[in-house]
């Protein structure tokens, strides 16, 4: 839990209800007023990741219905605000920045293409007149170079912005919902596929870290650690390392019971197969019926029946897995509200697309500033609801001092370690005898760095450890081994 340290002892061990109470009683600062409505996110109270996805898909649907840059910018702002106030500092939450950059890249590419490859939009405001490359007859629809008009570029901008908004909405879902937890909500029969995806997702960052480490290591052999060549040369070692790691992981998973199956009577097994196969066939036939001109009558019922059969097969197939689930995410009232807000934005925008076609799709010709349709804009603001109802992320660690939340100098790494170092530190004034330097006059006074150290490290803020009373500890005390400090938490 990433909590600022002073608060931690107060609330950490308490059950969520008590924690909420403690929170309610805390004096109200302006910030507290803002965050007061929604509880801090805990494992039990966390929002279902599916709700975040529904919300984000709602926004994305809305974005797909308009090219008005003002509405699109508003959608981006709404998604961005919710991400800013509700994302945690977990690794997956950092992907939002990457999605923003991807959106900008898409926009840039769209504009560059429109500039050099021309645009079907006729226009009168000529920005530049590029020489046109003559192309043979069979490439009639393609143009390279030629006149670049302001109208064409504006159209490309609107279009690119729409795509970018879609991407940013997906990025928002990615940053807010833990992908591993989403996969945990899959039905039992799909569980193994889900694990494969989760493993793959942890694998990619490892691979990137390996590439970085090995490229840096090239420097140690006197080779350039930058450039494409370096990247290519570490390719093989990285792949070898990845392979070794996956074999080790497979061994560990096997030893931990991955793939254990419950005994299922043959009759059930055959039924599962029949249901799944029949269901899939039904889905195929139904879809064909819907798409083909003459089968519209039977298409829908067959499709639905196929879906029901396939779901039944999945459910029965889940019986084979002996697995249970640890603390699955629950779909609570807040999840309903969050997903409903996304759906509402989508519904209003679809409705508006019918009612105000001109405002939602501002024409590029003539060259005018886009209108700002009031009602659709107001509806878009509904998407802000999660910023108030979704559980808030725990307070991020403050200050530059390493805290348990982020540090490689972890709080739990053993107070024995601290104590050991503390002993050394206390004595270090006496010990520090650098060549050619007089010993410090007084232990601990030798350097201001000592003061720094004690400020960064809460040497004295140790909670009494639960270990203190264990039989083990007593045994060790009895044996009185001098180096055996008390075992720590």
């Amino acid at each position: 839990m990433h909590r600022s340290t002073p608060r931690a002892p107060l609330t950490n061990g308490a059950p969520p209800e008590t924690r909420a109470l403690l929170k309610e009683r805390a004096p109200l600062s302006p910030r507290a007023l803002l965050t007061r409505r929604a509880p801090l996110s805990t494992r039990s109270g966390a929002l279902h990741p599916g709700a975040w996805w529904l919300w984000a898909l709602g926004l994305a649907t809305a974005a797909s219905r308009t090219t008005n840059p003002l509405l699109l910018a508003l959608l981006i702002a709404v998604a961005g605000y919710v991400v800013a106030v509700r994302r945690t500092d977990a690794p997956w939450a950092r992907s939002y920045g990457a999605f923003l950059k991807l959106g900008l890249l898409v926009l840039a590419i769209r504009l560059v293409f429109a500039f050099f490859l021309g645009s079907p939009i006729p226009g009168t405001h000529v920005l530049a007149d590029l020489p046109e490359v003559p192309l043979p007859d069979w490439a009639k629809g393609v143009r390279i170079g030629g006149r670049v008009t302001a109208e064409g570029m504006l159209f490309a901008l609107y279009d690119g912005l729409k795509l970018a908004t879609l991407l940013i909405c997906v990025g928002a879902a990615n940053a807010l919902a833990n992908p591993a937890r989403l996969l945990k909500s899959l039905p039992g029969a799909l569980y193994e596929a889900g694990v494969a995806v989760v493993v793959a997702m942890t694998f990619a960052p490892n691979l990137v870290a390996d590439v970085r480490r090995l490229r840096a290591a090239r420097r140690l052999r006197g080779r350039a650690d930058r450039g494409l060549r370096g990247l290519l040369q570490v390719g093989l070692p990285v792949l070898e390392g990845a392979l070794e790691r996956s074999v080790a992981l497979a061994a560990a998973m096997d030893a931990r019971g991955y793939g254990r199956t419950a005994h299922v009577p043959p009759a059930v097994r055959h039924t599962t197969t029949a249901l799944t196969l029949g269901g899939l066939l039904g889905v195929c036939a139904g879809t064909y019926g819907l798409l083909a001109a003459e089968g519209a009558g039977f298409g829908l019922p067959v499709l639905l029946a196929g879906l029901v059969l396939a779901l039944g097969g999945l459910w029965l197939g889940g019986k084979r897995a002996a697995r249970t689930r640890y603390r699955p995410d629950r779909w609570g009232a807040r999840a309903w509200l969050v997903s409903a807000s996304g759906a509402a934005v989508a519904a209003f925008m679809i409705n508006a697309a019918g009612n105000y076609p001109a405002a939602l799709h501002p024409p590029a010709i003539p060259l005018n500033p886009p209108p700002f349709p009031l009602w659709p804009a107001a509806a878009t603001l509904l998407g802000l609801l999660p910023a108030f109802v979704a559980p808030a992320p725990p307070a991020p660690p403050t200050g530059t001092a390493p805290s348990p939340g982020t540090a490689p100098f972890p709080g739990g790494a053993g107070s024995a370690a601290r104590r050991g170092a503390a002993d050394v530190r206390q004595k270090s004034g006496a010990v520090r005898q650098e060549p050619g330097e007089e010993p410090a006059p007084r232990p601990g006074a030798s350097r201001s760095a000592h003061g720094e150290a004690s400020r960064h490290t809460p040497w004295k803020k140790r909670k009494p450890s639960p270990w203190r009373h264990t039989p083990l500890h007593r045994a060790q005390q009895d044996r009185g081994e001098p180096h055996d400090q008390e075992p720590t938490q």
Binding site: R43, P91, R213, A216, R218, R219, L220, R221, G222, R223, Q233, V234, R245, A248, A250, A252, M253, D254, A255, R256, G257, R260, A322, R323, Y326, R327, T400, G405, T406, A407, P408, P410, G412, A413, G414, A417, G420, A421, D423, V424, R425, S428, V431, R432, E434, P435, G436, A449, E452, A453, T457, T470, L472, R479, G480, E481, H483, Q485, T488, Q489
Partner: protein, 558 residues
């Protein structure tokens, strides 16, 4: 609880069995320590208990292994998952999920335990292992000791009867290692778990063992018995046992406390002697080479304060902030020729960062660093290699080629050395390595030697080693010690980042302890490490208040 019934394991591509006719029965509730030199088949033996050998690794197993009455021939590893919990050497390779709490629950989910039970056991495990503060943390952000505890916790929650641990403390700093061992011992005492554990760092674990299973060499018959008896004949021994044998104590003491009780006469005998400075002594196993080393050093041991030699590297108020974390804080250091420095401190204290900064991998946020007269991060790698060489924690990061010979050729080419320089060095360090061996097929110690030879091809006056003894047995460590002494005698400055207090006591002139990126202690080895219970070597604890650090010092004095 675990019985080995004439177990012989042969891997497919080898002519000789790794394990030959192992007979042993480990009773319930014992902490059994598996010891033996590298390559004696320790990991293989551990693998047979969980069924991974041969079901997962391949090879042929003759004989029978039963765990809690289940035969591993007929039970696959996943069917043994509820009775055996296995933690391998690298805890990171063990994790399936991404947060601590999910990881603790993963094994139970696979076994299909009811949700209520799972919830209760996860809470118990969080308390037992002291992980409650970390329960929601992504595993990737934890320190080494925390990861090891999560790994142990994750196999503990299904309540296995047997726990199999392969080198659980090798990568950990001394306090974190004690933390993990305390947990293991608590499991044995309170829950009656049977533990089978392999570990190279005997000085850390031997006192906790109820039984020792000794594999003296590859293919030799295994011996199971009382720790004191078996350690007397074992090829690998912790310092406390070495000292006991030297002093002729019987029965051999295994813990520092037992040894201290018997040490009074020895202390009296030693009272008239002064310990020779560290870094110049003959190692216990070897040899003529180090005699030369001691002879040529000139000023034995002590940092050459009197000789006005230019420092090889200097840092002035060096600070480094990465991802908003202060990795180094105002570090001021001078590294002189001929000096061996041990850099110690807990995992994540900034040891590796400091070494990496000295080779220019990180640009300092503030302060100065100069190596060979110029800032390393602005020096071309080829030029820098003439001044400083670093052997990283994972030596295989340095190895790209598919044979030893090609690796050597490219090292010569990289450094502009005479063709054959590197190969000559390799032959000195590893006399019997054929040219065609793939670097990945080498053992840990051989790989380290190869990486060291590659770095030494450029003859850098400053040599940095990051955690060089991880995974080395005592014999390989002794060879490394000899080699480093020779290099120091030639005027190389050596900096070791290490958790191994015995190694530091053996070769370092000076010890620097880092905490949160700042040096908190810096001084002669004897003074710094004896002042801290966590970092004192066993010999020093036994003979305190006299300042003897290593068995070889005592041996030389007697």
């Amino acid at each position: 609880m675990i019985t080995f019934d004439s177990v012989t394991v042969t891997y497919e591509d080898s002519a000789h069995p790794v394990l030959h006719a192992v007979e042993a029965a480990i009773p319930e509730g014992e902490l059994c320590l598996l010891i033996g030199p590298s390559g004696a088949g320790k990991s293989t033996l551990l693998g047979t208990v969980s069924g991974l050998v041969p079901h997962f690794t391949g090879g042929t197993l003759h004989g029978r292994v039963t765990v809690a009455g289940r035969d591993t021939r007929t039970h696959k590893p996943r069917e043994l998952a509820d009775v055996v919990g296995t933690v391998g050497q690298d805890p990171l390779a063990h994790f399936v999920t991404d947060t601590v709490e999910d990881e603790l629950a993963y094994g139970m989910e696979s076994l299909g335990l009811p949700p209520g039970t799972m919830r209760r056991r996860v809470e118990e495990a969080l308390d037992l292992l002291g992980l409650n503060e970390l329960r929601d943390r992504p595993i990737a952000t934890l320190s080494g000791g925390q990861q090891q505890r999560v790994a142990i916790g994750s196999v503990l929650t299904p309540h296995p009867k047997v726990l199999v641990l392969d080198e659980p403390t090798s990568a950990l700093d001394p306090p974190a290692a004690e933390e993990v061992l305390a947990v293991v011992q608590r499991l044995v005492h309170d829950l009656g778990t049977t533990v089978l554990m392999a570990e190279h760092r005997l000085e850390r674990v031997v006192q906790y063992a109820d039984k020792v299973l000794l594999l003296p060499s590859p293919g030799a018959p295994a011996q199971l018995g009382d720790p004191a008896e078996l350690l007397a004949v074992s090829p690998v021994q912790p310092p406390v046992v070495e000292l006991g044998r030297l002093a002729g104590w019987s029965p051999l003491p295994l813990s520092v406390r037992d040894a201290r009780r018997k040490a009074q006469p020895l202390r009296e005998r030693l009272a008239t002697h002064t310990p020779a400075p560290t870094g110049t002594l003959h190692p216990t196993t070897d040899t003529g080479a180090s005699t030369d080393a001691a002879g040529t050093t000139g000023v034995p041991g002590a940092p050459r304060t009197g000789v006005p030699a230019a420092p090889l590297a200097e840092t002035r108020r060096l600070s480094l902030v990465r991802d908003r974390i202060t990795a180094l804080h105002e570090v001021t250091l001078t590294l002189n020729p001929g000096e061996t420095i041990a850099l110690m401190g807990r995992n994540g204290a900034g040891k590796s960062t400091l070494l990496n900064t000295l080779v220019g991998m990180h640009r300092p946020t503030s302060g100065q660093v100069t190596v060979g007269g110029s800032p390393p991060h602005r020096t071309r790698p080829a030029e820098l290699l003439r001044h400083v060489g670093l052997v990283p924690q994972e030596p295989r990061d340095l190895l790209y080629a598919d044979t030893v010979a090609r690796e050597c050729e490219s090292a010569d080419a990289d450094t502009g050395a005479e063709p054959g320089t590197c190969r000559t060095l390799v032959s000195q360090l590893l006399p019997d390595i054929p040219d065609t061996t793939h670097p990945r097929d080498l053992s840990e110690g051989q790989r380290l030697a190869l990486a060291l030879a590659i770095i030494l091809t450029a003859r850098p006056p400053l040599l940095l080693l990051d955690e060089p003894t991880r995974g080395l047995d005592y014999a390989a460590k002794a060879r490394l010690v000899t080699l480093l002494r020779e290099l120091a005698a030639d005027g190389h400055a050596i900096v070791l980042a290490t958790h191994d207090v015995e190694l530091a006591a053996e070769i370092a002139h000076r010890v620097i302890i880092l905490a949160q990126g700042e040096p908190v202690a810096d001084g002669p080895t004897a003074e710094v490490i004896t002042s801290s219970p966590a970092y004192a070597p066993q010999t020093a604890k036994i003979l305190a208040p006299q300042q003897w650090l290593t068995v070889s010092q005592v041996k030389a004095a007697l």
